[in-house]
Symmetry: C2
Subunit: 574 residues, 2 copies
């Protein structure tokens, strides 16, 4: 089938669609354009190149066996005609041609197409502030920008850096700067927490606390108002609730989100959503049946809300690329949407999640609740283990799982759990599905009752009123709050564990080991709020059951127990 | 609700059911019996206790915070009346009582029940051979047996050991003996491969090869005929295809499967399947509506075959325990079955899987095929990574995923992938579901196109005839086989990579880099079988497409490439 296929954009989705289609139809002529000089690189690897973990930029553009994916590679290995430094100027849908320009020679030509793929990606947003163009201010835009950042680091001229934006890339860049280069790094974020769209405040506090221990500074709820410097960046001025602050910086990394590149598609009259992404159907086809689009320039369906959303991730782009490759050949493959699975490594902690946070779920109109669980990621008797913290977001009534997010030092173990939940998300799982979820089991990898099963159980107890819990931040607010006298803090652990806190907070901290509670009920006030604490939340739940059975109705337990309080840095004295 | 519940068996399922029910119904009287002195221990941790990873046997019987789960623990913390060393002699279903005997005092009594739970577990099978009772021959039966084994190890009297059975526990015990105690260990297995019921021969070869590199010896396809020794074990005599062999041994561990303990239930007239397990419905109820059963003594539904099967795993027992606890209270929770997810750590390699192997699938009547894929578990440019090998078993026609198994040095990463597939199994996934499976993505954890997605893609190519592959063992058979001249071995890598093999096998090994193949087609014979090899299987697939397009119809590529050959130890010269 001698068809002409033109693919605009040669990072992630573009090459995948082009190569898959070419394999299906070796007789086709497939042209793969890109404005950039470098094509088909792993953009998500940029922070690891900046850190030095990846020694050479070429590695991000290479196959596992060190072949650089440049134009000759695509020609010889893939049979695809790749044209770097070539910009698509306009699409003539009636004539089925793309006007392109070679950015090196200036030569323009019209490329005829039978089928067209728009894979134009996205562009980092730029804050509209004074000094945003000062030399030394970078966006993590592409590999060339990364090379420029690393050159400046290598030159040794960077002692202090500011990262604007505490999303994935911002935090990864902060780790890269602070960890590998020892740079004094401050992250400035407009929202009051890190990773604000994907983590609850409690889990975000854990991630932030760990990064602070590693030396990264944070200014949250802070707005960058201007960037100053003579010829190069010297200072970032931020406004917080407590006033204006100036942070010295030799390097500024802007990471405040991306905007889909849809100008070309818009000009050609293709449908673009009010949110800014190209509209495609489940076969990744635009409003023109001969034009496909995907990756960062398109919107996809959110499998949890049922609404379209914008989720610029290299993994989704690659999978969509294959679907488009199939469909160019007429196979009718489908991309049904995404639940929004993600993960990020932050020094020795990792965070991962899928679906909605409680805040996002409430905003989307769900009658949602959340609960935090902590448990060792492996059998507790196995030598090498770490505490894992998982938060479940579920809908009342239906008990539907709307999201799960977590933090753990053993990142693969965490990502594995989130992956399993993610696999279920298209099937609209309930808490019961998590309770009985079948995971491979052996003591070096998990407990017989895996934390995901426990999460389902605890969620079900919560949704059926058999448990009530507060998270570490809610505990902190009560503990430091004005109504401290109104709250009875009851430590359910054995006496030696409770002792230090009994001494530190006499009259405030109380202790009845859970095993004695049913015989010492008269020591628990019936007219005050009772807050139960143990190590992980398991014994305080047993205590909750005892108190509930005895008619106490103003009791909560601290989800994740002392361990979650410590991890969230709620009270250093704890 | 003042109900009497009696639970027979206090390991895994029994305690879980008892405690869940007691929390739901604090007014109930719950009695938990066990023949053993130790109750509620993590039996799956026995190999880690034997190895010394777990220093004290009490740890296997403790909570995460070091409380030993003995009778006082159940009384004080859980409100459950636990009775160790108490045997259930008979169930009077009409009178609703259980006749029990205290094994220490000999006193018998009748315990009335409203609801009864049978959690009698299983007993290790014992080979009916001479010398099976010789001192120094152990089954991994319970924690007391483990204590006896470790005592013998600690005494320093064990220089050589034989493990009979290359299933999970057998291999874990072999690792424990060889790794931590430096004992010369030989594993004897009747089947021709290790982990024969859960791994393909090719993956089994990888696991075995790694264990051999760590010093463990194997006698496969070997039958133990007798055990000899004066007063203590001295020798194990095995029969193989090549004759009889005597292996010196100071310790023998028998690990040849378990038999469900159903005598009590049978005597009470409850339904037991011809395969030996108690028959229960999806609420874990036996043929008597007031009697529940689960764990190792019961059968469950295999979600892949739809038939009942016997899967004695602590993880399933725990989850079933909670379901039974719910149902004792009338909640009607369901346990729908299992797909058979498992994992095992063997020195620095791990293996994991879910569902059926190719052999099991064919035996179950599926028209099944399988394919092996290898890929780094993380982004290939990320510094700390390992090759992962996954094998897909799928049904022709429907493209249904019947099973996935794998081997990888980074065990959590492997188990995470299998967990995600396992989560899908109740939904009868197809290869397409794997192709688009949404996993959390970031370079420290995976590739943008995760190996599970690739597995789905490769499976689809296989099922649609777009790819044909052979596994390392099939390659080995061709390479060493009599028809060597009939086969054209074509290395598709660049010349420097192929060079050592061209020198080692002149006239047999050929090299055309895949990028040159379309121009050098005349060098490839059309009348011989062509076997394509590259590093990982990706480039040989590209070569396959080129040859197929050029009309070559007797071509296969080596799944997983050189990397899988090396891992399987197929040819040390490779």
């Amino acid at each position: 089938m001698r068809e002409n296929v033109v693919v605009i954009g040669a990072v992630a989705l573009g090459p995948k669609a082009a190569c898959r289609y070419k394999r299906l139809n070796p007789e086709a002529r497939v042209i793969l354009l890109d404005r950039g000089r470098r094509i088909s690189y792993g953009g998500c690897g940029i922070p690891y190149y900046v850190s030095g973990d990846v020694s050479d930029a070429d590695e991000l553009q290479s196959t596992s066996y060190h072949m650089v994916r440049n134009a000759p590679f695509f020609r010889d290995i893939k049979g695809v005609e790749a044209r770097p430094r070539t910009e698509a100027l306009a699409i003539d849908r009636a004539g089925k041609t793309v006007r392109v320009k070679n950015l090196d020679t200036g030569v323009e030509e019209n490329l005829p197409y039978d089928k067209l793929v728009i894979a134009t990606g996205s562009t980092p947003r730029k804050l509209p502030i004074a000094g945003a163009d000062t030399p030394g201010v970078f966006a993590v835009a592409d590999l060339d920008a990364a090379v420029a950042i690393r050159a400046q680091l290598t030159a040794g001229s960077v002692g202090r850096a500011v990262v604007v934006g505490a999303g994935f890339i911002g935090l990864e860049m902060a780790v890269a700067l602070a960890d590998m280069w020892g740079i004094e790094t401050t992250v400035v974020e407009y929202a009051p927490t890190v990773l604000p769209t994907v983590l609850s405040p409690a889990l975000a506090a854990m991630a932030q606390h760990h990064m602070e221990e590693k030396g990264v500074g944070f200014r949250l709820g802070a707005q960058v108002t201007r960037i100053e410097g003579e010829g190069k960046v010297e200072r970032v001025v931020v406004k917080t609730a407590s006033g204006e602050e100036t942070i010295e910086a030799d390097l500024v990394v802007m990471s405040v989100g991306v905007t889909p590149n849809t100008a070309l598609a818009k000009a050609a009259g293709l449908e673009v959503s009010p949110r800014g992404g190209l509209v495609v159907d489940e076969e990744m086809r635009t409003s023109d049946p001969d034009i496909y689009a995907g990756g960062d320039c398109a919107e996809i369906k959110n499998l949890v809300t049922g609404q379209n959303f914008f989720l610029p991730l290299g993994s989704l782009a690659n999978r969509q690329g294959r679907v488009i490759g199939d469909n160019l050949f007429g196979l009718h493959s489908r991309f049904e949407g995404a639940a929004g699975a993600w993960c990020v490594k932050l020094f020795e902690q990792s965070a991962s999640g899928v679906g909605l946070t409680l805040e996002a779920a409430l905003r989307a109109g769900f009658d949602a609740v959340s609960v935090l669980v902590s448990q060792f990621d492996r059998a507790h008797f196995y030598p090498d283990k770490a505490f894992m913290y998982l938060e479940l977001v579920a809908e009342r009534g239906t008990r539907r799982v709307l999201g799960v997010q977590g933090v753990c030092a053993l990142g693969d173990a965490l990502v594995g759990r989130i992956g399993a939940v993610s696999a279920l998300m298209p099937h609209k799982p309930t808490t019961t599905d998590l309770s009985v979820l079948e995971l491979p089991y052996s003591p070096p990898f998990n407990s017989a009752m895996d934390i995901v099963n426990v999460l389902g159980n605890v969620g079900e107890n919560l949704l059926t009123g058999r448990n009530k819990s507060i998270d570490p931040l809610e505990f902190g607010a009560l503990f430091d709050g004005p109504d401290e006298d109104g709250v009875f803090f009851l430590d359910c652990r054995e006496q030696p564990s409770a002792e230090p806190l009994l001494k530190a907070y006499p009259g405030v901290w109380h202790n009845i080991p859970q095993g004695q509670l049913s015989k010492r009920l008269d020591e628990v006030p019936r007219d005050r709020k009772v807050v139960l604490v143990c190590n992980s939340g398991a014994r305080s739940y047993e205590a909750f059951v005892i108190l509930a059975h005895a008619g106490f109705d103003n009791v909560v337990n601290v989800a994740g127990g002392m361990s979650s309080l410590q991890n969230a840095g709620v009270d250093p004295k704890l």
